[in-house]
């Protein structure tokens, strides 16, 4: 249970970091919070020859509101910073609600949002949250600089659209639509465990109180976080009464086809999809109503 030897650098600028990454390529790994990487190194499942530590980079611990009402989150923002950010609690309550389901306080004090997204564990909460919010990811290497939509970012288990030398340097959450409400719910075996099933919902109401738009994303439902566009399409234009919610729950369990795992069967996960979808939508619509009446 000890990591294999590696060479280490703690660069003082992003440019220096990206130059080192370009030089060492696949041999080098970024070290952010270390809360996923170090366990795999302790098991020697990962044996990178070079570790490039992000923790000494200046100015990467930012949470800033954009002029359009979105929020940008830097590479060194820890889960616990999101938990305590008043800006995020106000602007993106979905992220604020979900982050407390990520691991334990001790892990949240080190783990970073960007590291969590780059790691792309399909059981992780925040990738599903970013899909539901329509987040955008800023990727940089020594040779490139681009933005990737959340819907194009997660390719497979632990696999993202990041190229070999790209670093995820920030994430942007766009503003929520007017008249919207959100809700994150999950079922896990113990507090802090990865989700057995989790759902992130964003809904908005039109002036007549009908569903204008819904985005519903799941974690632990497949190889990547998954959206349920069929359920969203059926809800659009509907009045979100009990019948519509029950139909949405039933439809979600048809649309989402979780694989099951050692802890639970696919059938039980489907049951959780239905129950959590109904509950999360009910809460999200109620919150949308409150925000509309304010």
């Amino acid at each position: 249970m000890k990591p294999a030897p590696f060479r280490y650098a703690a660069p003082r600028s992003i440019e220096e970091l990206l130059a080192l990454k370009a030089e060492h390529g696949d041999d080098a790994k970024f070290l952010a919070g270390g809360q996923s990487l170090i366990p795999t190194m302790n098991f020697r499942l990962a044996q990178p020859a070079v570790l490039l530590d992000l923790n000494t980079l200046p100015d990467q611990n930012f949470i800033v509101e954009t002029s359009s009402g979105g929020v940008r989150i830097g590479a060194l923002v820890r889960h616990s910073d999101i938990e305590t950010s008043e800006t995020i609690a106000r602007s993106h309550p979905l992220a604020h609600e979900a982050i407390r389901f990520v691991a334990h306080p001790q892990i949240r004090n080190r783990g970073t949002l960007c590291g969590n997204l780059a790691h792309a564990d399909p059981a992780s909460e925040m990738p599903a949250v970013m899909l539901a919010l329509g987040g955008r990811f800023h990727a940089r290497s020594a040779a490139s600089d681009r933005w990737i939509d959340a819907s194009d970012f997660f390719l497979s288990i632990f696999t993202t659209a990041l190229e070999e030398n790209e670093m995820l340097c920030e994430v942007e959450m766009p503003p929520l639509p007017p008249g919207s409400g959100t809700c994150f719910l999950e079922v896990s075996r113990r507090p802090g465990d990865f989700a057995m099933m989790g759902v992130a919902t964003v809904v908005s109401l039109d002036e007549a109180g009908r569903c204008a738009e819904a985005r519903i994303a799941y974690c632990s439902a497949g190889e990547t976080p998954l959206l349920a566009p069929g359920v969203a399409a059926s809800l659009a234009g509907e009045e979100p009464d009990e019948t519509a919610l029950l139909n949405a729950a039933r439809q979600a369990a048809e649309e989402i086809d979780p694989p099951g795992n050692v802890h639970l069967t696919s059938a039980y996960q489907k049951h959780l999809v239905a129950v959590l979808t109904g509950r999360a939508l009910r809460t999200a619509f109620a919150r949308a109503n409150t925000s509309a009446s304010q």
Partner: protein, 162 residues
Amino acid sequence: MLEELVTVSTVVNGKHYRRVVEPRLLLSDFIRHDLGLTGTHVGCEHGVCGACTILVDEKPVRACLMFTPQADGHAIETVEGLAEENGELHPLQEAFRDKHGLQCGFCTPGILMTMKAFIAQHPKATEGEIREALSGNLCRCTGYQNIVEAVRLAVSRIGGSS
């Protein structure tokens, strides 16, 4: 620049240390083997059990999930730093003794460090909040009941609630 050996300056329980280490040295092993502070326990070495929890800049973290160079320039507190120099126990330790909050004691240092930071942030914590805050620390002996009671007693003594 890439280094095979790194110089680390850190303050542990108020005392300065400067050592040259291999970067792969886990902070938990640095504390135990290099500094001889064996109160920080090591259970799982993958972040699950919480036995190795220490405070870095007053925040509880897993010592087994940090490399020693990452402690450079940071202040660490371990269970050895809790009691006064004259041996007088910290109120949390006192409460654990009063409520029989430990049996073998393996999990205790990690729980004490986690709870020290928790009570500082939640001086009026309820039992529900205490139980949630304890969820990142496994205990194989007590069944948790006396740990919860000890923390409740410590909260009432330190934070002033009932």
